[in-house]
Every structure is written in C-alpha cells, then in structure tokens.
Symmetry: C2
Subunit: 102 residues, 2 copies
Amino acid sequence: MTDPQPVLAALADPTRRAVFERLNNEGPATASQLASELPVSRQAISKHLGQLDAAGLVDRVSSGREVLYSAQVGPLGDIAGWMEQVGSDWDDRLQRLKESFD
Amino acid sequence: MTDPQPVLAALADPTRRAVFERLNNEGPATASQLASELPVSRQAISKHLGQLDAAGLVDRVSSGREVLYSAQVGPLGDIAGWMEQVGSDWDDRLQRLKESFD
DNA sequence: TCCTTTCGCAACCGTTTGGTTGCAATTACC
DNA sequence: GGTAATTGCAACCAAACGGTTGCGAAAGGA
C-alpha cells in the first residue's frame, strides 16, 4: 500500500487543485499558460507544478524552450486505496462487535 | 457537490490522519487517551481533533468531565465524489477526442 | 543579429501551521 | 472538603507555506 501522504498534501491546496483540474479537463498546458488563466504569478504556478509533479499527479514533457504539463490520475488510486482500508477496518470492527454477542 | 477542501486539508497532516485511523480501527477515545498513545502533547491532539471535527470526520460526545471522540467516515465521500468527477471529466475529454475523428 | 518569450533559480515576506508550556475551571473520588 | 484527573483557553515559537519580485539563461522568430 503506497503512502497517500504526498497526494493528499498536494491536493489539499485550492490553487494546486485548480491547476490539476484545469489540466485534467482541458488538457495539457505550460506554466505561463496556466498563470495567464489563474490569478497567480507564473512562479507560484511553477512551484505548485513542482509539488504536483513530486506527487506524480502531473507529467512534464519539455520540447524546446517550453514545458508542457499534463494531469496524471494514477496517484488518486493511493487515496482510494487508503479510504478503502479505512472502510475495511471499520467493517472489521463491526464484525468483531457482532462476534462479541455470540 | 460538497467541497472536498476541508476533508482534504484535515487528512493531509500525518498526525491528524494517525488520530483518525486510530479512532476508526480501535474505537472511540478521549484526547488524553490519544495523547498517551501518540508522541505528541494532549494540546496538540486536542487541536487536531478540533480540525477533524470541523471537517466532520469526528464525532464528540461529552459525558461528565471527559469528551469521547469517534471517527466518522461520511465526509470521505466528499473526496470520493471529487475523484469521481475528475474521472468523468477525463472520460468526457476522451469522448470529445473520439468524436473529433468522426 | 537582435528582440521576445519562456523557463529556472534565488531571495524575500507575511501568514499559517504544528507544536509546546502554563494556567484556570470543572468533575470525580477519598 | 481536599485532592487528583481531565478539559479548555491563551500565549508563544520555530518552521513550513503560498506568494511575490528580480534576474540570468536558453530557445525562437524578425
């Protein structure tokens, strides 16, 4: 089970989530492009992209002087996996509770 | 669609997630109890419980001088909902791409 | 070649955050 | 009633965070 920490931390910031959503539902873009669409500087976007990249939520392909970023949904599975485990732990507890009445 | 922000922010911290997991898979506990099991002060735990409570991830029942906290899995649905939407947006994009070849 | 664009690095800044300690108040127990 | 335990509030602190500006370097187009 991979640690959900980096993904959760990356998605906890609204701007970062906005960037991710933008990349996800409107396709790849460069940092400058994103900066022109969102109310923050390019540097801020760039830092956020760095963190998204570290969490695997984004893929960077550089060609020439520009770097194109695209959303990667894979790491969302880490969160799903964690939630799944939380659910099963809860089921286990219910099971144990039920068995305590046998 | 409820905002996943509070839940994501609440779960982004490792200690907070540890508290939540502890409550989820070992049942209710008080702040003092949790503090004795985790390597942080009671006050730190108390603050974390406050944030978990604000996100709806915890239920507080006070009786006498002590307050018993228990995990609430409901708000995890907010995250699930958000991820679902991300997925469907991605599907939409695939659909549009496919249609562009008609 | 020169100018523009895009990027990356670094410094800096105010605010938030996770954590601590100290103290007063309420509840339980002897 | 007195003492021990549990909670809540407040102040404080260092570090991380989100954001900005400035600048130098590399790539493209005139």
